[in-house]
């Protein structure tokens, strides 16, 4: 089996975080990531352009923070054309709801709170239908201690049960605001193990789902529409036809 390529899709650079994109790219490539996405919040600055830093992939992204669900759709539409990843920071019930019902949204993060895991069967079903990934923010497990961490882990456990039941896409992320908040993929897998996620699931959330999000938003020339792409024609075939996959 080929070695999976890992991605961290929630990383903040300056001015929101502390470090420049070049520093973050250097750290992440040392930690053996295949790519990171910079998701500075909308409004604070222009979204970062996607680029390659010494052969390391940096994807452009934006984090949409709104308090009003009706503004969410407008914001998402505005950024959809020129960014790879659109993340919505949830929090309240109605924002979470609006985010999972919009198939243009890629990732919903920060949906839980201290009292509540944020996700329920209705949101999970709709996230699964609209292909909106749920983000497990492992940074919270790293920085908090004691009661807060206990709450976070038990919330993640509930989220994971819903994710398994409704087959919701999910990603694992460090939600890093500086270079030192990043964690290597294997460490993230170990942290996910703390709330009962198996290694296979964790690899899926760190590699397969981020890849599918990126390929969905960066269509190659062979892409037709969701689920259909042109593969190479059979040898000896006169006409090269599109083949459903």
């Amino acid at each position: 089996m080929a070695r999976p390529v890992f991605y961290d899709l929630n990383v903040y650079s300056a001015p929101e975080g502390k470090n420049t994109i070049e520093e973050l790219a250097a750290f992440s490539s040392r930690l053996e990531f295949g790519g990171i996405a910079i998701i500075n919040p909308s409004g604070s600055s222009q979204p970062v352009k996607a680029k390659k830093v010494h052969g390391f992939e940096v994807f452009s992204g934006v984090e949409v923070r709104v308090d009003n669900p009706s503004r969410l759709h407008g914001m998402v539409g505005k950024y959809r054309k020129n960014t790879d990843i659109i993340v919505v920071r949830g929090g309240s019930e109605n924002i979470n709801r609006a985010a999972v019902e919009n198939s243009n949204v890629d990732i919903l993060c920060g949906f839980g709170s201290m009292k509540d895991n944020g996700l329920n069967h209705v949101l999970a079903k709709s996230a699964s239908d609209n292909n909106v990934a749920i983000s497990f923010d492992l940074g919270e497990v790293i920085v908090h201690r004691g009661g807060k961490r206990v709450r976070t882990l038990s919330n993640f456990r509930k989220d994971l049960a819903l994710v398994r039941k409704y087959n919701v896409p999910f990603i694992l992320t460090s939600n890093a605001r500086s270079c030192y908040d990043l964690r290597a993929p294997r460490e993230l897998i170990a942290l996910a193990g703390l709330f009962g996620m198996t290694k296979e699931e964790a690899v899926y959330g760190l590699s397969t789902i981020p890849e599918s999000i990126i390929s969905r938003n960066r269509p190659s020339s062979k892409y037709v529409f969701e689920g259909v792409e042109i593969v190479d024609g059979m040898p000896g075939d006169a006409t090269v036809e599109g083949d459903g996959q």
Partner: protein, 126 residues
């Protein structure tokens, strides 16, 4: 006294790691030990820590080897991931590899490896 028969010995794994520290400062062994046990006590508790049996085997120049119980490597990694700073200096604990012997861990993952220096990032051009 006779030595403990091999079948009765605890099975261990050795984790080779590097410590990427802010400003490329050198971290002392005692400070790191304190931080590791505090992190392990906080995440796993006394009971979990006794099962996991984390021990700082060797540490020099921000590179080292940690030993832990064979069945609890993933927990040990999780503990290491929760270390955020040592004596006020922000650090990133990066596990380079896991091996069944100290020699294997040192030879395969540590020999000739330079600790990542956050100050200069020229190495990514190689």
């Amino acid at each position: 006294m006779k030595v403990l028969p091999p079948t009765m010995r605890e099975n261990k794994r050795y984790l080779a790691f590097e410590l990427i520290a802010e400003g490329n400062s050198i971290i002392s062994r005692d400070e790191l030990i304190r931080e590791i046990f505090s992190a392990s006590g906080s995440l796993l508790g006394d009971f979990g820590s006794s099962e996991c049996n984390i021990w700082l085997f060797a540490f020099d120049n921000n590179k080292g080897v940690i030993s832990c119980n064979r069945e609890h490597v993933s927990q040990a990694r999780a503990v290491m991931a929760t270390i955020t700073n040592v004596k006020g200096k922000r650090v990133l604990f990066h596990v380079l590899g896991v091996s069944g012997t100290v020699l294997g861990a040192t030879k395969k993952y540590l020999e000739g490896v330079d600790v990542f220096n956050p100050e200069e990032q020229s190495h990514i051009n190689e």
